[in-house]
């Protein structure tokens, strides 16, 4: 290993450990930004003495390329460094979701669905799982769980049912739904934008695996919770205490507009491989529509953007580019290639299970960002179809995160919401339920990938 490689690895490990150990003192976006600056200064500046590497890592020129705004699904120049397409798209979706929240869309949707199934526990469990899955296909899973968990806790209180089974199953389905599309989960957005896959590419591949898994997961959670669900008796009086879904709409005009913007986002995403619009232009378009519709409330809306997450991504991309441009990730790819002996089956199994296990214990976003160059290199050196490895990585990182309370952001939010309302979910309780479910999905993923692609 040369000096630049040692520095890049040291900064990467230091970033990971600092995020975990010093979160109270240093927010994670500060850590990644600082480590990003160190990468630019030490790895590219001092060790490599390469201005080109710094420019490639910062990647500001991306904004001025045609491919950033308009491109076919598989065209475009590949570069290491900050993935501005991901940042722009996430920002746009954050603004849209904020507008929908302000209008009362999510509260209305949850209560409307609950009313449709007449507030009966088993249909509630299943319909909320499906809703969580579908919403998470288009909206970030944190937002989905923030609302679903809050409504579930409230429903549980008013209907006198234990909300924990529902919250657990909603969390799992949000992560599973996120794996079904390009925009559902940050690892997929990064994989899609970096490797130039479209929404439809994801939907027809990981979406199919997620769909099959969903059927099994609904059965699994029903079997696990059937006794608790069937013992709940809901009276007419309980139902009378519930708010009318229409009363949750804060402003009819804003509500209608936010529904239309959400609909437009879905259509644009589904058709972007046909229209040629990139996710960054969709993000900008959706954000612009939401801001225009918000009128005087636009400033408030923009202020609510989760800037810390965006800065976290920016720093992270720079640190990972340090590993990529110094060739560390090629070494890891070479190692996986040697261990697998060139067998695609073994390669898929290694990537799937290592991604799942790693994502269960560390944040899946840095893991996915790091693994993308690895699978690219693996594909180039071993002559394997890149898309097979991309779907494998997506399923492993998206669903593996469901195994523990800290594996994915949705889990943290769901567990926190439940505990704050007086329903603690310990590590033991969470893992006992979630790990078998993750194993089911991983086995389905492995089977589908083996049968369909190998």
């Amino acid at each position: 290993m040369n000096l630049a490689q040692i520095a890049a690895v040291t900064i990467f490990i230091a970033m990971f450990l600092t995020i975990v150990l010093a979160e109270r003192y240093l927010p994670r976006h500060v850590v990644t930004l600082f480590c990003g600056l160190l990468t630019l200064a030490i790895v590219f500046g001092l060790c490599m003495r390469s201005i080109d590497a710094i420019l490639e890592s910062v990647n500001l020129r991306a904004f001025f390329t045609r491919e950033f705004w308009y491109a076919g699904s598989s065209s475009g120049e590949e570069s290491a460094g900050i993935n501005w397409e991901t940042i722009t798209f996430i920002t746009g979706m954050m603004i849209m979701v904020e507008g929908m929240t302000k209008a009362g869309f999510f509260d209305w949707l949850c209560m409307r669905l609950a009313k449709l199934v007449k507030y009966r526990p088993t249909p509630l469990l299943i319909s909320f799982m499906l809703m969580s899955f579908v919403l998470a296909m288009f909206i970030d899973s944190i937002t989905v769980i923030l609302f679903l968990a809050a409504v579930t806790v409230e429903l549980g209180r008013l209907l006198k049912i234990d909300p924990v089974p529902m919250i657990m199953s909603e969390i799992f389905c949000a992560n599973l739904g996120g794996s079904a599309t390009m925009c559902g989960d940050p690892p997929n957005i990064i994989i899609g934008t970096k490797l130039h896959y479209s929404f439809l590419d994801f939907f027809l591949n990981t979406g199919m695996i997620a769909g099959i898994s969903l059927l099994l997961i609904v059965v699994y959670f029903y079997v696990m919770f059937r006794e608790e669900l069937n013992s709940e008796k809901i009276s007419e009086d309980d139902i009378k205490n519930l708010p009318d879904p229409m009363s949750l709409i804060k402003n009819k005009r804003d509500f209608n507009i936010s529904c239309m913007i959400f609909g437009a986002a879905v259509v644009l995403l589904v058709t972007h491989s046909i229209t040629g619009l990139t996710v960054s232009s969709i993000g900008v378009f959706i954000a612009a529509l939401t801001i225009l519709a918000a009128g005087r409330g636009a400033v408030k809306l923009v202020k609510k953007i989760d800037y810390e997450t965006l800065l976290f991504f920016i720093g992270l991309f720079v640190v990972v580019s340090g590993l990529e441009l110094t060739g560390i990730l090629d070494i890891i790819a070479g190692f996986i290639g040697r261990v697998s002996g060139g067998s695609l089956y073994i390669m898929v199994a290694i990537i799937l299970w290592i991604s799942a296990i790693a994502s269960a214990v560390v944040d899946n976003i840095p893991f996915a960002a790091t693994m993308i160059p690895v699978i690219k290199s693996l594909s180039a050196t071993m002559g394997v179809d890149l898309h097979i490895l991309a779907w494998t990585l997506a399923m492993g990182t998206d669903v593996g995160g469901s195994a523990t309370p800290i594996g994915a952001s949705a889990n943290v939010v769901g567990v926190s919401k439940a505990a704050k309302s007086g329903h603690p979910i310990s590590w033991g309780k969470y893992c006992r339920l979630a790990i078998p479910a993750v194993i089911i999905v991983m086995l389905v993923s492995m089977a589908v990938i083996f049968i369909r692609y190998c």
């Binding site: 975990v20 150990l21 979160e23 109270r24 944190i142 989760d306 997450t309 944040d363 309370p405 800290i406 952001s409 889990n411 943290v412 939010v413 567990v415 926190s416 919401k417 505990a419 704050k420 007086g422 603690p424 310990s426 590590w427």
Partner: protein, 200 residues
């Protein structure tokens, strides 16, 4: 004594701090919150209170929790915040009480009628007390005292700039081994009386 009385009492494990707190609560005729705070929050002997006891006054393991957009997955942190809200709520309602440990000195610091104490003891006395109470050998008692104090210190220091047991963070620190439980309670009671007279 007239008006609201808010007392926080930090203590070393085995020092007899909770006994002093009980004695003061009796003399002042005010509510006493120690381990029983969970019963008050979640209901007497409820399953939830018992489940939460494992997370009470503990600092979370940094490898076992994460924070996302201000939401923490740590049961220890969530319970601590719930306890802080409960204590603040009682104080805001004008109730008088004594709270043992649980960062009471930190949460109540800005309340005018708050008095904070820290109770310590000689190791020899603490060993005897812990050995008797927990049926432990001398060595085991020492280990238990060190383990519990380490835990309390980590918990306290997570939420406070002023370190656990640092005399600058309390109105009065007292070594219970010098005057015993009764004698120490007398001193603290007298201090409370004079301090409240001064505050008015």
């Amino acid at each position: 004594m007239e008006g609201q009385i808010l007392i926080s009492l930090g203590r070393e494990f085995g020092s007899g701090g909770h006994k002093i707190a009980q004695e003061l609560a009796k003399r002042l005729d005010i509510e006493y919150y120690d381990e029983n705070i969970l019963d008050k929050m979640f209901g007497e002997e409820s399953d939830l209170a018992n489940e939460m006891r494992d997370y009470d006054e503990r600092k979370p393991n940094p490898f076992l929790f994460r924070r996302v957009r201000g939401y923490s997955s740590s049961m220890e942190e969530i319970l601590a915040e719930n306890i802080f809200d409960f204590v603040r709520g009682k104080a805001d309602n004008g109730e008088s009480f004594i709270v043992v440990g649980r960062c009471g000195d930190v949460i109540l610091r800005d309340y005018k009628r708050h008095i904070s104490f820290f109770v310590l003891g000689d190791m020899y006395d603490k060993i005897i007390r812990v050995s008797d109470r927990c049926q432990l050998s001398e060595r085991e008692a020492i280990n238990e005292i060190q383990r519990m104090d380490r835990m309390r210190k980590k918990f306290h220091n997570k939420y406070s700039e002023i370190k656990w047991g640092d005399s600058r963070g309390y109105d009065l620190c007292i070594n219970i081994s010098r005057l015993g439980v009764e004698g120490s309670a007398d001193v603290l009671f007298d201090f409370i009386k004079r301090r409240l007279e001064m505050i008015g």
